[in-house]
Structures are given as C-alpha cells and as structure tokens.
C-alpha cells in the first residue's frame, strides 16, 4: 500500500481526478460542517444520555450481582449456623422435656404419698373419734339403762311391795351393790 501510495502520488493527476468528481472546497467545508453539526447534535441529544444510562445500568447490574453473591454467601453461612443452632436448641428442648418428665414423676409420687398419709391421718382421726363417740354413747347408755332399771324396779316395787319388802329388797340391793362395788 505504501508503495502504491507513492506510485499514486507520483503518477496520478489528482486535480484531474478531483475535477472529474466535482471536488470543490466550498462543498467540502459545507459537508464537513454538516457532519460535525450532526455528530454534535446526535451526541448532545442522544448518545450522551444513552451511554450514561447504559453505563449506569451495567454498574447497577454488576453491583447487584456482587450484592447477590454476598447475600448468597451470607445466606449459606447463616443457614449452616442456623442448622447448628437448631440442633442445639432441639437438644436443649429434649433435655428440658426429660427433666420436666422426671420432675413431674417425682412430684406425682410425692403427691401420692402425701395424699396417702393425709388420708391415713384423716382415717385414723376419724376412727379415734368414732371410738371416742362409741365410748361416750356406751357410757351414757349404760348409765341411762341403769337408772331406767332402777326406776322401773322402783315403780314395780312401789306398786306390789309392802314396806317391809321394800326395806328388805333395798337392804339386799344395797348389799349387792356394795358387794359389786367391792369386787
């Protein structure tokens, strides 16, 4: 090309060529200015903002990807830590349930024995009371029956007996009672 370039400049009559294609510096200037103006206007109205937006979007996507990557990593680490934590928590919960169960058992046992004891106490107290009451009642009944017998005897004796008999029986009774009391 270099070679042909020198040949071109050496042999070709450029002015003739330019004449043939109507080269005119006026036209060159006008066309150049036209292109420069269009290029500037295109840059001013379109390309500048479009390129800026494209760069911004690319940056945003890049930062978004980086962010997503970081989030993914964090998520993974969080996930693993969460698993261990959950495991620990499960263990802890198991332990708590176990201790609670044993506690409940002991408390139940305690309650059972306590209630047994209390029931026994109540029963024994009741038995005591019953015995006491029976004693009382027996005593009262004895006394009442005794006095009743005496009354009845008195009445019978008063109706059928003479004074002599009465004295005799009284003396005999007195004697018996005395003997009985002495026994």
């Amino acid at each position: 090309m270099v070679f042909s370039g020198t040949v071109l400049f050496g042999t070709t009559d450029f002015s003739g060529l330019f004449d043939r294609f109507g080269i005119d510096w006026h036209l060159l200037v006008v066309q150049s200015l036209n292109f420069i103006l269009v290029a500037f206007l295109l840059y001013r109205f379109g390309f500048r903002s479009v390129i800026k937006v494209m760069d911004e979007r690319r940056e945003k996507i890049e930062s978004g990807l980086v962010y997503a990557d970081r989030m993914k990593k964090e998520m993974a680490s969080f996930e693993s830590s969460r698993a261990t934590r959950v495991e620990a928590a499960m263990k802890e919960a198991d332990d708590i349930v176990k201790t609670a169960k044993t506690n409940a058992k002991t408390i139940l046992e305690q309650g059972k024995t306590e209630s047994h004891r209390m029931a026994e106490n109540i029963i024994s107290a009741a038995e005591k009371e019953i015995a006491f009451l029976r004693e009382n009642i027996l005593h009262d009944t004895k006394a009442k029956i005794g006095s009743l017998v005496v009354e009845v005897a008195k009445a019978v004796l008063a109706a059928k007996m003479t004074d002599e008999d009465r004295d005799g029986y009284a003396a005999a009774a007195e004697k018996m009672m005395l003997s009985k009391n002495l026994q």
Partner: protein, 305 residues
C-alpha cells in the same frame, strides 16, 4: 422491529422500479453532483440537499426513539438504539482499547449512524428523478449524499482530524510520535550501536508511515464513494435494462423485478460500508491508543490503509 423492516422491504419492492434514475443526461449517474443553486458563492448541490434531509431525519429519528427521556428501564425506541450501541461497543472495545473508548465512542457512533442513514436514504425512491429543468438541463434535487466525492472526502478529512485529536488526547504527542517514528527495538536484545542505527531506520519507516496515514484519507473516502456511487450506477443501469423489457409484450411486468435483487445487495452494502468506515477509523485510533491491555495485539503487524 421486524415489522418495520418488513414494511421497509415492501416499500422497496413496490416503489423501487419507480425510483427511475431517469435524469436523462448521459449514460449512468453523473460522476459529479450537480449544483441546483448557490448561496453566496457556496453551491448547493443535490447531494448536499439530500445530506441535509437525511441529517435532519437522523436527528429527529433519534429524538423520536428517545422520546419521553432516557430511562434506566428503556422504552422500545430506546432499547433499539441501545442494542445497536451495545453491539457496536462490544466490537469496538477490543479494537480501540478500554481506556480510549469513552472518549472515542460518541464520534464512532455518529459516523456509523450518519453514514448508515445516508446510505439507506440513498436507496429511497426519488434519487435523481425528482428535480427541475433549468435552461433545458435537468437538475435533480436528491442524490445519495455518499455518491458525491465531496461528502465522503469531507467525512474522511473530519475523520483524519478526529484521529489526530484522539491520538493526541489519549496517547499524547509523544505517544503519537513514538508510534510513528519511535525506535521500537528491544534495547536489551541488540548492541547499542545497532540500536542507534535503528533510530534512522525507524525514522525512515515513520516517513513512509506518514504517507500511509495520509493515504487513509483517500482510501476511506474512495471506498465509501466507490461503493455508493457504484451501487447507484448499478441500480440506474438495471433500471435502464428493465426499460428494454418494458417494451416487450408478454414479459413487460417482469421489468419491475429486475432492479429488485440489486436493491437487496445495496441494502447490505449500505450497512456494511457504514460499519467498515467506523471500524477502520476505530482501528486507526486503536493502532496508536490501544496499548497495555490485551486487545492491542491483534492490530499489530498489519498495514491498514
């Protein structure tokens, strides 16, 4: 989007035969643009008018696509623009280098969109067929802007100055000088006498490199001009060919189909040429600015003109 392309093709199918490069003068499209009128010594040619129309369309199309503001969550139009920009950036990034890309990219984008829409606009009906007759001479209003050497040469000149500016900005004057004239030999591998001698060799190589750099202006402009102008001629000639068929009794309707495949070809060429121009410019910038990071290697050892 697909619907849009479909409707575009439908327009091409039904309207293209009417585009009629029937300007009437000579055979084929005239190699120079014709002046319609002039303002203060500045002639206004048909290609300049077309350039203005398409420029205005480009700006309004972009404004329309981005209506409602540029948002983080893009609208349909914005996502279309963004997908093109994103695709270009993916391609340009390893060529220009990560460091220089933010500085250079808007310029490359402007070149891509400008040339693409000028090229596609050149396929529209009405090129060279709508005009006025002044003094018995037909003067068309529209001519594909890039089929005028003035337009492409202007683009290439602007590209050359932009290249110089970006190189100085990204690599510095010293870096640019080193890239062209500098001694790139490894000092540790050769003797110091040899190293000093290589200074002259590399300086001579740099002079040749300068010619090659100047040739880039010519090659850039002529590549774009040649493709567009050649395509325009091709369409014109195919239309002329179809007029022969038109006079025949049975196959006259087929005449409308003859230029059609070439419209598809030119559609492809329009896209590829805008891409090539942008890519070559980015390669030229990358040759100087792209050091350090990985992408720089695949540009080395080749002469891109």
């Amino acid at each position: 989007m697909a619907k849009l392309w479909n409707s575009f093709f439908v327009v091409l199918v039904f309207v293209s035969p009417c585009t009629a490069h029937c300007s009437g003068h000579g055979d084929g499209v005239s190699s120079a643009a014709t002046a319609i009128f002039s303002i203060g010594g500045f002639p206004v040619t048909d290609s300049i008018v077309m350039g203005w129309v398409i420029s205005a369309f480009t700006i309004f199309a972009l404004k329309f696509a981005l209506r409602g503001g540029v948002k983080t969550i893009p609208s349909t139009g914005q996502s279309v623009v963004e997908s093109i920009i994103g695709g270009l950036r993916e391609i340009m990034e390893p060529v220009v280098g990560r460091k220089a890309l933010p500085v250079v990219f808007p310029c490359l984008l402007a070149y891509f969109f400008f040339i693409l829409l000028q090229n596609l606009g050149g396929l529209l009906p009405g090129m060279g067929s709508i005009g006025i007759r002044i003094d018995g001479e037909f003067r068309p209003f529209f001519r594909p802007s890039n089929s005028d050497l003035n337009a492409t040469l202007a683009l290439a000149l602007v590209a050359f100055f932009a290249w110089a500016y970006f190189c100085v900005k990204c690599a510095g004057v010293g870096g640019l000088y080193y890239e062209i004239f500098g001694n790139k030999a490894e000092k540790s591998e050769i003797s110091s006498l040899m190293y000093c001698a290589l200074f002259f060799v590399f300086f001579a190589v740099g002079l040749i490199e300068c010619i090659s750099i100047l040739c880039r202006v010519i090659s850039l402009s002529f590549r774009l001009f040649g493709n567009t102008f050649g395509g325009e001629n091709l369409l014109h000639n195919m239309y002329g060919f179809s007029t022969i068929l038109k006079n025949m009794p049975v196959v006259n309707y087929l005449s409308y189909l003859i230029p059609l495949p070439f419209y598809f070809l030119e559609f492809l060429v329009a896209i590829i040429q805008s891409f090539v121009f942008t890519l070559l410019l980015s390669v030229y910038i990358g040759l100087v600015c792209n050091h350090g990071d990985h992408g720089g290697e695949f540009l080395k050892g080749e002469e891109y003109v």
